[in-house]
Amino acid sequence: MTHPTGQQITRDLVRPLLLTTWRFYVMIALFGAFVVAGLVAWLSQVYFGFGLSGINWPVFWGFYITNFVFWIGISHAGTLISAILRLVNAGWRRPVTRCAEAITTFALLIGAMFPLIHIGRPWLAFWLIPYPSERLIWPNFRSPLVWDFFAINTYLTGSLLFLLLPMIPDFAVVRDSTTGIRQKIYRVLALGWRGTPKQWHRLESAMQIMAIAIIPVAVSVHTIVSFDFSMAPVPMWQTTIFGPYFVAGAIFSGIAGLIIAMAVLRRLLHLEDYLRPLHFENLGKLMLVMALLWGYFVFNERLVTYYGNGPHEMAVFWRTQRLSFAPLYWTMVVCNFVLPLILLGIRRFRTITGCVIASFGVVIGMWLERYLIIVPSLGAKYLPYSHGTYTPELVEVTITVATFAAMCLLYMLFAKVVPIISIWELKAGEHPSPALIPPATEKHQLGDLHL
């Protein structure tokens, strides 16, 4: 199998934008129906009262915050992975980056919705924005939720731009390949892109800077999400390990999400020549590392709690280890650790199928991890009188399912309007920079410093 080059790339990658089969519309309708169901569920929750959910005293956070952390975690797929791969200039990253960045953006959009779904009075959520009001009571900057607001907005802005910038040259490709109204739209989107060396250099510099800026932001985002828990004096929450633990978990689930998305795209858009077993193999190895890291963090968290032997923490500890939450807990361990270790650690199983199965396991396991952080702890706080538990209600399940559908929907629509693999980056791989280019004349070395 040879790599496609030149015109083949353009043809293959623009084709999904121009050819639409009935299957596309069927899937859009299906996912759209789920999204509408979720919307109805949310509106009915707003209309009838928050009590439609299964939240109760004392488990005040449930599915919504689980989903929030989960989706924010998934969002670390993209930007972080593609930023790191860009910075280390890993050649195999080229077909992967845009898939990953799109996941980031959509997962963030979905994740950022959950605080709104979760709060009791969503119509007042704008109070988190530091806007000047006559009363000057701006948000409480000492609250982790306000940190969340700032961090997620920064990350969303950053990753959206990180996704959009390398799309500009590809918009130009589509602009030149289409006619009529579509061409007009893409002409606007391409922002006057021509492809002069100056434009290429500015774009690459911008991507470098963005990659450098986005990595600490991504790390900070999930650290701050973990602060939502570790700032509250709740057994098993107030621990310093949560920051790195959450960041590792986020990257872990992000890679899993990316692998699933890539496998689906490969199948549906016939991108077998672009998303090759090599990519799955490499991402699988990365995920294996994260699985080990995740196991390490969980072991740390559990061992320290076990040794500390505080009565309140141990109540939560045994709840997850042996008592009511044990089935979920051990499912999580199998999904997040055992399964990836077997499927990704043994070379024979590290095929595309193996990676996808492991990824599904990880997605489930990481969702359970967040659930198991939130619910058992809240249900077993200090005073035995206030112990309780939580069962999700239909609105929560519907909204949860709807967000997965929303992710699929957004991703499908995205793949329909944007080449899902960066055309110019693939082609750029054919023109590697040699160590030294002899300048034609002294004058033309680097040009003068200008914008």
């Binding site: 000492r142 920064t154 021509r194 500015r202 600490p216 914008l451």
Partner: protein, 168 residues
């Protein structure tokens, strides 16, 4: 607008065309090169590489940092509220806000620099041929040549093998 340009199938012949144009006395600023991908393996692909973007990103970060600090300071000092006995201006939490706004500042500055310096249609800049993206050609041309220079330019552009010279 008038322009003479050649379309080339590979980087080497494009580089040859550029070199011939230079030999014909055309200065670099007048040579337009358009390619469908960065051409790091050719000399012309390294034109216009120097940029202030990194410094502007740092400047944006500094502005973001000041905005973050100012926002936190003004907000907390204009209506001091006691929450849980924390100081009114608490450094640790505010560092998070300041950090995020620093990063936001540098990201926005980067993108603004990119848009202003490379994307918005600038001086001239109308020379283009869809063959660059559709057929993967590399375009080398001269915009607004003086009429008596055209034959010379056409000769230079047509010299490399497989060249396709066009007028616009």
């Amino acid at each position: 607008m008038k322009a003479v340009y050649g379309l080339y199938t590979d980087g080497a012949s494009a580089q040859q065309a550029v070199n011939r144009l230079r030999a014909a006395g055309v200065v670099d600023a007048d040579i337009t090169i358009i390619s469908g991908q960065p051409m790091e393996d050719q000399e012309f692909g390294h034109r216009d590489k120097a940029t202030w973007m990194w410094w502007l990103a740092c400047l944006g970060g500094l502005i973001g940092m000041s905005v973050g600090f100012g926002l936190a300071w003004i907000t907390e000092m204009s209506w001091p509220m006691n929450v849980g006995g924390l100081p009114t201006f608490a450094w640790w939490p505010n560092l998070i806000i300041i950090f995020e706004l620093t990063m936001l500042g540098s990201i926005l500055a980067t993108v603004a620099t990119l848009v202003v310096s490379a994307l918005l249609p600038g001086k001239g800049g109308a020379l283009y041929d869809p063959a660059v993206t559709v057929e993967g050609k590399i375009l080398v041309g001269v915009e607004n040549p003086s009429d008596d220079a055209v034959p010379e330019l056409e000769r230079s552009l047509g010299a490399p093998a497989g060249a396709l010279v066009k007028m616009q």
